[in-house]
């Protein structure tokens, strides 16, 4: 069973031949008993290489956040300590053993978190205006995501090395390509937020912005804007998060408010959002369907679902497909080009599903960074 070096027998007395024979035997024994360990070291090395890349991303995020705050906020003190504290910020989800009322508990926590973020950013960058404050917050959130990814991978790497457990290392090594894609996406998000460029996630907001541009804008709910637009002889209430600062606001609250203002007399609601594409699909592909297409923790989606159920209002959705990298980095051409397609499809849907004189709601969901109204 032990592999033999061919023809070695012919030089039986030869020392070199014996050395090679012994080496081959040793190699065989080593692979039988330590094969798994060698495999583990190869995996550890792979995780280590990715970890070094993640560390560079994390440091880049921290550095970008500090330099942006210094440049836009002109703080009197060095913001480094505050940025470091922000990167380590933790938030606890509400207890779900008794799920009754958990949505409102979660909403309250999210409100507290947002207020806390805004206060922190204001303290770090006292000279920045509202738009710049929102963009700095976006940059800090990206840096925070990179910091978290780095720390989680480092945790499994160190734990795997300490315990020498193949399974700990293996589970992180297997998902590493997906994690690296996400980290690279957040790394490119840094530049978009720092410079205030529109991102892929803002596709829904851009559809609404195009529809409401040139009409009278009013503020509705928190950080949301709405305009009353006449489309195909229908009254459309178009709404989006207020731009051009980084903002996702509360679209659910705004939709609920408009439904209540109209005493439920809304013929249909159309929600437009960016959505994760499957591999093989093209970025910027548009799909239509039904339901409340609002991402995030689910609070806003829940509010809309409650209101439409009360008044039995049909909800339609359009999604613009993109991957995670496109969602948080500067809007690519294909996604921008999809905006006009969505507007055409909205008009078609309105003509097919509503009558002249009806009232409808068109909600553009997504981050309004770099998108005015």
């Amino acid at each position: 069973m032990i592999p033999q070096v061919p023809n070695v027998a012919q030089f039986g007395g030869d020392t070199i031949s014996w050395v090679f024979q012994i080496l081959f035997t040793l190699l065989f024994v080593v692979f039988v008993f330590y094969g798994q360990r060698i495999q583990m070291y190869v995996m550890i090395r792979e995780v280590e290489n990715s970890l070094l890349r993640l560390k560079v991303f994390r440091d880049e995020g921290r550095k970008t956040a500090i330099s942006t705050i210094k440049e836009l906020g002109k703080p009197k003190e060095d913001p480094t300590n505050r940025v470091d504290q922000f990167l380590e910020y933790v938030a606890f989800a509400p207890e779900s053993m008794d799920p009754t009322g958990i949505v409102w508990k979660l909403e309250h926590l999210l409100d507290v978190e947002e207020a806390r973020y805004k206060d922190e950013v204001k303290l770090m960058a006292p000279e920045a205006d509202e738009t710049q404050l929102n963009n700095i917050e976006g940059t800090l959130v990206s840096a925070q995501a990179l910091n978290l990814i780095y720390k989680v991978i480092r945790h499994f790497y160190v734990l795997g090395k300490k315990t020498l457990s193949l399974y700990i290392i293996m589970q992180i090594q297997m998902v590493l390509p997906l994690i690296m894609r996400e980290a690279e996406a957040w790394a490119s998000a840094l530049k978009a937020f720092t410079l205030g460029q529109p991102i892929g996630d803002g596709a829904g907001a851009l559809v609404a912005a195009k529809l409401m541009h040139g009409h009278e804008i009013r503020k509705i709910a928190k950080d949301m804007v709405a305009a009353t637009v006449s489309i195909e002889d229908r009254t459309a209430y178009v709404l989006k998060a207020e731009g051009p600062g980084a903002n996702v606001a509360k679209p659910g609250e705004a939709i609920k408010q408009i439904i209540e203002e109209n005493e439920g007399k809304i013929a249909t609601i159309i929600v437009i959002d960016a959505a994760q594409k499957l591999e093989g699909e093209k970025p910027g592909d548009v799909a239509g369907g039904v339901g409340v297409a609002i991402g995030g923790p689910g609070v806003e989606q829940y509010k809309v679902e409650e209101s439409v159920l009360k008044y039995k209002i049909p909800v339609n959705a359009f999604i613009i497909k993109e991957d995670i990298g496109d969602a948080v980095s500067t809007m690519r051409k294909e996604i921008f080009d999809a905006i006009d397609t969505v507007i055409e499809r909205i008009k078609g849907l309105i003509l097919e599903r509503t009558k002249g004189g009806d009232s409808i709601i068109i909600a553009g969901i997504g981050n309004s960074v770099g998108i005015g109204q």
Partner: protein
């Protein structure tokens, strides 16, 4: 304008130097020495009896060992790796609503979609930023698209 130029090219970041154990380097050197000995043995055998093909085994072992040890030695070089973050160019399109004049330029900090921009050079009317986009040059995926 300096902001705009930052949006093209690549960003580079230095990565810490990787260290290797002296034990590993010693093993690599032993492998290198054995490979050289195997090659010398193959040469001796060929010189003594060129018609016999026995030298081939030693020559192969020697060459494989030599390639392996050289590769491992090259890997242990104390080089500072560079990690690059590719940044695609971002362009802003300024459009005159009146005469349709279009100006495509590099993105500048402060630009946002529907922002009022510089007056139109053709009709002197107000212009607005119509788009801010990133162009991605995808590698050819002919086979993938066919599926």
């Amino acid at each position: 304008m300096s902001e705009a130029t930052e949006t093209t090219g690549t960003r580079e970041a230095k990565q810490p130097t990787r260290r290797f154990s002296s034990f590993l380097i010693a093993v690599v050197f032993v492998l290198l020495a054995l490979s050289i000995i195997a090659l010398m043995q193959a040469f001796d055998m060929y010189r003594n009896n060129p018609k016999s093909m026995d030298y081939v085994t030693f020559m192969m072992i020697g060459l494989i060992g030599l390639a392996l040890s050289t590769y491992m030695l090259l890997q242990t070089r104390k080089k500072v790796l560079q990690i690059t973050l590719a940044i695609q160019p971002v362009t802003t399109t300024v459009l005159c609503q009146k005469c349709g004049f279009k100006n495509i330029r590099e993105f500048q900090r402060g630009d946002y979609i529907f922002k009022e921009a510089e007056p139109c050079p053709r009709c002197n009317e107000k212009t607005t930023i119509a788009s801010i986009i990133r162009e991605v040059k995808e590698k050819e995926k002919v086979r993938e698209e066919r599926i």
